[in-house]
């Protein structure tokens, strides 16, 4: 609205100035001074880099890890080797990493193709799962895709690979029944298929119905094009990315941690802990925020410097850009510190007084980061003078 009126006002002023110029006085036309607190930044390289080198690279990694997980579960079918089970557990954790980091940009095909609920539904329905394991039902991947999400995906595989997680996160391979092994392989195949579908949606066509539809990556990189009904401008893409970062910081702090944490040990609820069977919760949470760092910095940890949201922020306020980077790093460290010197998993830490103090420190750091992103970074969108 303000912009509209200022344009009209400016037109009128220019009209009047021109009239004024028709006289003999050579007075310099006065133009109103409009305070300009906007900043310039050429976003194309940043968007291209974040799309290709962070998001697409992450989903490609997930697809690769999905293949590896399937192989690892297949090796369990007739195995009596504990090492094979440990390897399958490691393959599950390896697949979990790009998935959790990808939650910092959970928009587009992961949602529109319902891949998120298929792969990461919680809670499980262990009683239906057990019934099916005891039944004579066939476990082919296509059949299972038609079943409810609460008996498939990451956490069902986790439950079968690690056990119930109450007292430990280890399992003897002898405890794995033939039906469980068969089901695990089918679940891993379902997982592999969805991970590939997600990868294809970003790199080949975002619409499984239309092979000629653009890859989702191109929709981000080609924002503003006439045929792009999804991203109308580079501003839209940056807004998507920044809100994605805020979304996962909020979810980790106010959902994943806060829900099971409760107000006290008495109200803590371990049934709400994510990845509670494998005791991978803290790694999950840290990976969520590492995902934020990937988007912010523009590269994965240890890779050569490339453009990320930090460059956009720095164009407006270099001090702020550095502060946000520190706050992200701090959150990751505080989450990793929750385990303490006795290496407590999250589900035990929330039942331990010292552990709870460390959890609170991490929650405070998350809250601080969320406030900074919402109050300091998000407003930059309206101050950005796109070139």
């Amino acid at each position: 609205m303000k912009f509209t009126y200022s344009v009209i006002a400016l037109s009128l002023v220019m009209g009047l100035s021109a009239c004024g110029g028709s006289g003999s006085d050579e007075t310099t036309p006065t133009t109103p001074t409009v305070p300009d607190n906007r900043f310039s930044f050429v976003a194309t390289e940043m968007i291209t880099n974040l799309t290709d080198e962070v998001i697409v690279a992450g989903y490609a990694d997930l697809a690769t890890k999905g293949e590896a997980l399937l192989l690892a579960t297949q090796s369990l079918i007739n195995s009596t080797s504990q090492a094979d089970l440990v390897a399958a557990q490691a393959a599950w954790k390896a697949a979990r990493q790009p998935w959790e980091q990808g939650e910092s940009h959970i928009f587009g095909p992961v949602d529109s193709l319902s891949i998120d609920p298929h792969l990461d539904s919680w809670p499980l329905n262990t009683s239906d799962l057990q019934t099916q394991l005891n039944s004579a039902a066939g476990f082919d991947a296509e059949t299972i895709k038609g079943w409810n999400d609460d008996v498939q995906g990451f956490h069902t595989m986790e439950y079968l690979l690690f056990g119930d997680g109450v007292n430990d996160n280890s399992k003897d391979i002898a405890e794995l029944t033939p039906r469980e092994r068969e089901y695990l392989v089918a679940l891993a195949e379902v997982f592999r298929d969805y991970a590939k579908q997600l990868d294809d949606a970003w790199q080949i066509s975002h619409n499984p119905q239309d092979a000629n539809a653009l890859p989702y990556a191109e929709l981000l990189k080609g924002s503003g094009a006439a045929n792009n009904t999804i991203y109308s401008s580079e501003l839209a893409v940056i807004e998507e990315l920044v809100n994605g970062m805020i979304g996962i910081v909020d979810e980790v702090g106010n959902g994943k941690i806060a829900d099971p944490f409760g107000d006290s040990i008495a109200t803590a609820d371990t049934s709400k802990v994510e990845s509670q069977y494998s005791w991978n919760s803290l790694t999950d949470f840290a990976n969520n925020i590492i995902g934020v760092r990937n988007v912010y910095q523009g590269e994965y940890t240890g890779q050569a410097d490339k453009q990320g949201i930090i460059d956009f922020v720095a164009a407006a306020d270099a001090t702020l850009a550095t502060r946000i980077a520190s706050e992200i790093d701090d959150v990751i460290l505080k989450i990793q510190a929750i385990k303490g010197s006795s290496d407590l998993p999250f589900r035990q830490a929330i039942l331990d007084a010292d552990g709870r103090a460390r959890v609170q420190i991490a929650v405070d750091a998350l809250s601080k980061l969320q406030t900074s992103l919402e109050s300091d970074v998000l407003p930059l969108l309206s101050k950005w003078k796109a070139s």
């Binding site: 609205m1 509209t4 344009v7 037109s11 009128l12 009209g15 009047l16 021109a18 009239c19 028709s22 928009f107 587009g108 095909p109 949602d111 529109s112 193709l113 319902s114 609920p117 298929h118 539904s121 919680w122 809670p123 499980l124 329905n125 262990t126 009683s127 239906d128 019934t131 099916q132 039944s135 004579a136 039902a137 895709k145 038609g146 079943w147 409810n148 999400d149 609460d150 975002h206 619409n207 119905q209 989702y216 929709l219 009904t229 999804i230 991203y231 109308s232 501003l235 839209a236 893409v237 807004e239 998507e240 809100n243 994605g244 979304g247 106010n254 959902g255 049934s271 969108l381 309206s382």
Partner: protein, 542 residues
Amino acid sequence: MKITRKSNTLMSVMMAIGLVGCGGSGEEQSTIVPEPPVVTYPAFTDITAAGGETTTYDANNSGHGFSTPAPNLTENELALHLEGDVNFEASFTTAPNTAHPALDGLGPVFNNADCNSCHQRDGRNSTPFLAANETRVKLGSAAGIFLRISKAPDEVCTQGTLENNYCAPIAVPDFGGQLFHRGVLKARSDWESNAFVGQADVYLSYERSEISYADGKVVQLKKPLFDVENPYDAPGETKQSANITSNLLQDDVLMGWRNGMPVFGLGLLEAIPEADILANTDENDTNGDGISGRANWVFDAIKARDGVAHPVSLGRFGWKANTPSVRVQSLGALRGDIGITNPLFPDESIAGTSLHDAYLTRTGFVDTGSDENGEPEADEAFSDAVTFYAETLAVPARRNVTNSNVREGARLFEHLNCTGCHVASFTTKTAGDIGGVPMSDSLKGQVIYPFTDMLLHDMGDELADGRADFLANGNEWRTRPLWGIGLTQTVNPQAGFLHDGRAATLEEAILWHGGEAKNSQQAFMVLTLAEREQVIAFLMSL
């Protein structure tokens, strides 16, 4: 509105005067400078704050555009909204689930396990897609679309009374009013061979056609068709079976697709004064514009609960305006679509059917829909929060309103009389209840631009589902609000438009308009390509 329109015209005139004044500075005083035509634009042309003070500007370009809380909520309201947000995403499981008792009670037959799956990111659901080389797809956990079902009435119901159940659709015996294509593992007696199957299997396929403009441009269209097979009361049976015994497959059973709708801005729509909606009714088309506009009057579960003698209210929500409030709509969906009983709807929607009776007997009455104290599966707090959430999601601000094509599109939108049904603006009431409780201050007295008259219109045979719903006939649909429509596929790139998601683009959606909207559709079709694109540009700015 009219004042703003005058001011727009005034500005054009002022600028014209400015130009004339400049011309007059030359020597040829006698030259008559033709006045440029004064182009007037509708009052809504320059509006960005579509939801008044509930409008969001932080997420109105991206996929977060439907998912932010109204910025004018109080701190306590925001906390309630965020609690509702968690509930909206809560995924339910089969009862009993001793590890997660708060989240059990799913079904036993249902369409989806959480709200978000049919209102993805608070918007429309994904359009089902067919696998390569397949002609139809079986609806499963990825489907956000379902079928409403009812028996054909013997006569048109025009006046709701207790005796005729207020003109409510007639339930299909042993099924109900909505087809639940999914189930918990043991929902059916034949669960070992039909695991996780609901009342019946539903398949979706597409009938394809095309439509051409005078300039030769051709648009491909698709219309979703359904096949219903394998009903629980006659497993394996189809419409092609030699001897049909299922109640569901009888010829007088009517079925119609329903997609999920966006859930932002709903409290504002409920706060539009009833009289202002009724003022636009024109049942007999007395103004001769080919557009009638009828109100639906529907059963109101809140009035019934409160003992009101004639529990009927103006219908506002649902594709046929068959529910009166966000609360009835939301909690009805919680009980129906998901199968979670709640204080307003304490009984399972399939209670009393053979499927339910057999399920309870087979599973030992552990999933009756209420606990040992008679409490429903979702409590009052859960219900209140999820309702408040849907009432108070922000409306995304419009974008690109100064773009010349968007402005011309706004002018054409009015010129084509799209505004005959898609009424631009209302002002919400300043006091009172919504959904039976005092409304939030955030919703009061807001000048909003939803682009709907909230009334029923005959949209022609091509869009008709042939199912009456209270006073709405088989051809009638409630005018969809258009606010936020330009962000639809930013929120969900797989989303479609119209009640069954048949339109992949806004252009296709316009072309499907028939009946009372036929004149506007035909006027759109004779526009030049550039003008048609301007209309779309305007819609994309909403």
